[in-house]
């Protein structure tokens, strides 16, 4: 075992892994983290604790991950390259490991201009760091863990034992470079990969065939990203505006049909679309897990953590393995 994390153990057992996501609040109140952690506990093997996603200030990933951990949920702390240089990142990694955290997902991070896709003021005038990029961050973590060395070469007496993750956008643009993109992250030392949300399963499977040709599915554990759709509007937005995500027209039509079945009743519109979204999610989970080389799913129910229990149970992925 590299880290001894629950996620690593599940993957080592050969059973399909399930990770979820917990978004920390824009406030100093820990209760929301505790509440969400309780909703997710038992229904996933680990939950990503986002690191100021969409460039919005929230409780830091490490602090929220520590709170989740204290409440029985195994966290995957996230570390972006946007906000910290290699000194701050390593200091935070040592601190996180000292707090008992065992999984770390390395990300470039949304650019500071993102500001929740323009819905919040955010901090578009912030200075970004990007001292390292994702592949370099993964290499640094591996060097710290396996060689007990800081990036600069100084020794680490007690190294941080992280299960190292990275994200991958399989259908990102330019699409033909994406397998090489994953190859670099795997060569850098990524133990597991969580992909960008997948709706176009056919295209994802074509990319996975290339990944198998490169043998990468045997060198890293690929968890397919599934973003739970809530409405036809969300699917249209994801299709048109989210980088690396394409949604088949048939899926958007299916959701629109669910919406139309509610007539003018707004409450019912929401209910029916959410029900349909959960059905779509379960189908996507099954299709993803049937794809050769896929070792698990990363289910993101954004600001809808309560949906995870039902999804995981309905998908036949409950109870989660325990060790």
């Amino acid at each position: 075992m590299k880290s001894g994390s629950n996620l690593e153990k599940v993957l080592a057992s050969g059973k399909p892994a399930v990770t979820a996501e917990l978004g920390p609040p824009m406030s100093a109140d820990p209760h929301e983290v505790v509440h969400k952690a309780k909703q997710l506990k038992g229904f996933c093997d680990a939950a990503n604790i986002t690191d100021c996603q969409t460039a919005v200030v929230r409780i830091s990933s490490i602090a929220a991950a520590a709170i989740a951990f204290q409440n029985g949920l195994e966290p995957v702390m996230q570390m972006t390259c946007r906000d910290r240089n290699r000194i701050a990142i390593q200091a935070d990694l040592l601190g996180a490991a000292a707090l008992g955290l065992k999984n770390c997902l390395c990300l470039a991070g949304d650019h500071q201009k993102f500001s929740a896709a323009g819905r919040l003021k955010g901090h578009p005038g912030a200075k970004n760091v990007y001292d390292l990029d994702t592949s370099q961050l993964v290499s640094m973590l591996k060097k710290m863990r396996d060689e007990s060395k800081q990036e600069g070469g100084d020794p680490i007496e007690v190294p941080p034992k992280f299960f190292i993750g990275a994200s991958w956008t399989p259908m990102g643009d330019p699409i033909d470079i994406r397998p090489m993109n994953l190859l670099k992250k795997v060569n850098a030392g990524a133990d597991f990969i969580q992909t960008q949300g997948i709706y176009d399963m056919e295209l994802f499977r074509a990319q996975m065939a290339k990944i198998r040709d490169l043998g990468l599915h045997e060198r890293t554990a690929i968890l397919a990203g599934i973003i739970v759709p809530k409405s036809a509007m969300m699917l249209k937005y994801m299709d048109s505006s989210v980088a690396g995500v394409s949604v088949p027209k048939a899926m958007i039509d299916r959701m629109s049909k669910a919406k139309a079945a509610a007539g003018e009743d707004k409450k019912k519109m929401k209910e029916l679309q959410e029900q349909e979204g959960i059905k779509i999610t379960i189908e996507l989970i099954h299709q993803a897990l049937e794809t050769p080389g896929v070792k698990g799913v990363h289910i993101q129910a954004i600001e809808w953590e309560s949906a995870i229990e039902g999804i995981v149970k309905a998908a036949g992925l409950y109870p989660r393995p325990s060790f």
Binding site: K113, Y130, S135, Q136, D173, M180
Partner: protein, 233 residues
């Protein structure tokens, strides 16, 4: 070349309004090409200040002047006596020129009349694009001649990130994704497989992060010292 753009007249006015004799001093090289700070633009700025002074009822003498380069003393030394007749120099040179002149004007302040923006080129008249960041450690041979430090919003060395959308950057759909361009260019050059190599963390000490940079060309220094010694004899 160095590309700049004029500061808004309100900002300029707030800088100059308390001075009685103002010289708007243009530089006729880089910043003249980008229509920001050459002698012609200095003349325009001087008349805008005069107009504003008149509107505000402020008594002020404003003139303009221009020389070829503000970054080498021999170009502005001939006009130094003229410069010293003013109580403010509003330089429309790049930041290099402002710093350099400011060190040589004694008690006369030198203020910036333009914003120095980047090192760029002119793809078409009136358009200027940033292509180099002056990071001090060029890697263009690894990236198909397209600089990820200057042209990727995240300065990624192992791009692209997940934010590339239809060839554009996640920062704006007006900005080309540098890594998209790099990939397409390297495909054409037949060198795409070079990108599989992980570029290690950079040594940013060659960039501004290492503090102000200085380059000394030894053989030129030696020659100059010899010449100075000869002249001394």
């Amino acid at each position: 070349m160095i590309v700049g753009s004029q500061k808004p007249i309100d900002e300029i006015w707030s800088m100059v309004k308390d001075f009685k004799k103002v010289l708007v001093f243009g530089c006729n090289t880089c910043v003249a090409i980008c229509h920001a700070g050459g002698e012609k633009e200095a003349e325009t700025i001087a008349s805008l200040i005069r107009m504003r002074a008149q509107q505000e009822g402020t008594k002020m003498e404003v003139n303009h002047l221009g020389v070829m380069r503000h970054c080498e003393p021999e170009y502005f030394e001939p006009v130094m006596d003229e410069i010293k007749k003013y109580d403010l120099v509003l330089s429309t040179a790049c930041g290099v020129g402002v710093n350099f002149l400011s060190d040589r004007t004694g008690t006369i302040p030198v203020y910036p009349g333009i914003n120095t923006s980047f090192y760029g080129a002119v793809p078409e008249p009136g358009v200027f694009v940033e292509l180099c960041a002056g990071c001090g450690n060029c890697i263009l041979h690894l990236t198909g001649g397209i600089c990820p430090i200057a042209r990727c919003a995240k300065t990624l060395m192992n791009g692209p990130c997940g934010g590339t959308n239809k060839g554009k950057c996640e920062v704006s759909n007006e900005i080309d994704c540098a890594w998209y361009l790099i990939v397409e260019r390297m495909k054409k050059l037949g060198t795409l497989e070079k990108l599989a190599e992980i570029q290690p963390p950079r040594n940013w000490a060659t960039s501004r992060d290492g503090g102000p940079r200085r380059i000394s060309v030894e053989h030129i220094r030696e020659y100059e010292e010899k010449e100075e010694a000869k002249a001394g004899k």
